[in-house]
């Protein structure tokens, strides 16, 4: 899911950085009254957990793998704006310290995993709990949120690659390829997200769930 250096045209890199910074300012503005030591601790704990979870690459028959991304989970647990800061922190450390994800593509990676995945996951989870606020509905919402969050993030990556003028492949090729891969492998993301929400509910930790 991490786009490396070389996959995106410079114009797309600049545009994605601008969007990332603008959204970051907006997210801070929306949460400016809730920043305290508890919130920072929650962000740090969740970011540490997601960082470690992303180190697990599970092999899939056919020569590919999946790892948990955690954007939807961050949105469900801390809300769409603080969830952004969780993924931003994870992606920043991965990029600067381990070069996992490019520096030129950092803005795009934050948009895909820290904005789109978080927002899609959060809103689908909220939609599910509005339809019915039962435990099952929360788990189903987490599954769909995790699955679709990754799928839409993959589609966004397809747009970013397809819109890069340096490359020969237009978005009607890159978007279906990226979307399809992530639609199939996103099922795993949905299952893990749902399992974590189920675990928190079964242990009586509902207070940690934002929605």
């Amino acid at each position: 899911m991490h786009i490396p250096d070389g996959f995106l045209d410079p114009s797309i890199c600049i545009l994605t950085y601008i969007i990332m910074i603008a959204y970051g300012i907006y997210a801070y503005y929306k949460t400016r009254d809730v920043w305290d030591t508890d919130k920072i601790s929650q962000i740090t704990v969740l970011a540490s957990g997601i960082f470690v979870a992303q180190m697990f690459n599970w092999p899939i028959p056919g020569g590919t793998s999946l790892h948990f991304v955690g954007g939807a989970l961050a949105g469900i647990l801390l809300g769409p704006y603080l969830g952004f800061f969780v993924l931003f922190l994870v992606l920043l450390v991965q990029c600067l310290v381990f070069h996992d994800g490019g520096i030129t593509t950092f803005g795009a990676n934050v948009i895909n995993m820290g904005i789109i995945d978080v927002l899609v996951g959060y809103f689908l989870y909220r939609l599910s709990t509005k339809i019915s606020n039962s435990n099952n509905s929360r788990i189903i919402g987490a599954f769909i949120g995790g699955w679709m969050g990754i799928t839409v993030a993959g589609i966004a990556a397809g747009f970013e690659i397809g819109l890069s003028p340096l490359f020969n492949y237009p978005i009607w090729i890159t978007v279906p390829i990226m979307g399809l891969f992530h639609f199939i492998l996103g099922i795993g993301e949905g299952i893990i997200t749902a399992l974590i929400i189920w675990y928190l509910q079964s242990k009586g930790y509902e207070q940690f769930i934002h929605g």
């Binding site: 899911m1 991490h2 786009i3 490396p4 250096d5 070389g6 996959f7 920043w35 305290d36 030591t37 920072i40 601790s41 962000i43 740090t44 704990v45 970011a47 540490s48 957990g49 960082f51 470690v52 979870a53 180190m55 697990f56 690459n57 599970w58 092999p59 899939i60 020569g63 590919t64 793998s65 999946l66 790892h67 922190l89 994870v90 450390v93 991965q94 600067l96 310290v97 381990f98 070069h99 996992d100 490019g102 520096i103 030129t104 993959g154 990556a157 397809g158 690659i161 490359f167 020969n168 492949y169 090729i173 890159t174 390829i177 990226m178 891969f181 992530h182 492998l185």
Partner: protein, 98 residues
């Protein structure tokens, strides 16, 4: 931070090379993005543009499995360090406001 959670993270980091290094070498798999990118002919420039000694969760001079584990601990320590600094800043800001 909860002690149980820290132990849980440490155990996960210790076993992470099974999936992140050993199985990757045996099965020879790639991330979905890499496969999709290969299908449309994109070129990864990460190695040419590299700036970090811990490239791809490795530590120079150490076997990949050990490097992967140490990288996990480094990553978590940095994230927690950033959180600690942010908490200090917020604490000082709140004191000034009082």
């Amino acid at each position: 931070m909860n002690k149980k959670f820290l132990i849980f993270l440490a155990v996960l980091i210790l076993i992470s090379p099974i999936c992140g290094v050993i199985l990757a070498d045996i099965v020879g798999y790639h991330e979905p993005l890499d496969l999709a990118a290969e299908a449309i002919g994109l070129k990864d420039l990460s190695e040419q543009l590299n700036w970090t000694p811990f490239y791809d969760y490795s530590v120079p001079g150490l076997p990949p499995e050990i490097g992967y584990i140490i990288s996990g601990f480094i990553g978590v320590a940095i994230i927690m360090g950033i959180g600690y600094l942010a908490n200090l800043l917020i604490g000082k800001k709140k004191e000034k406001e009082k």
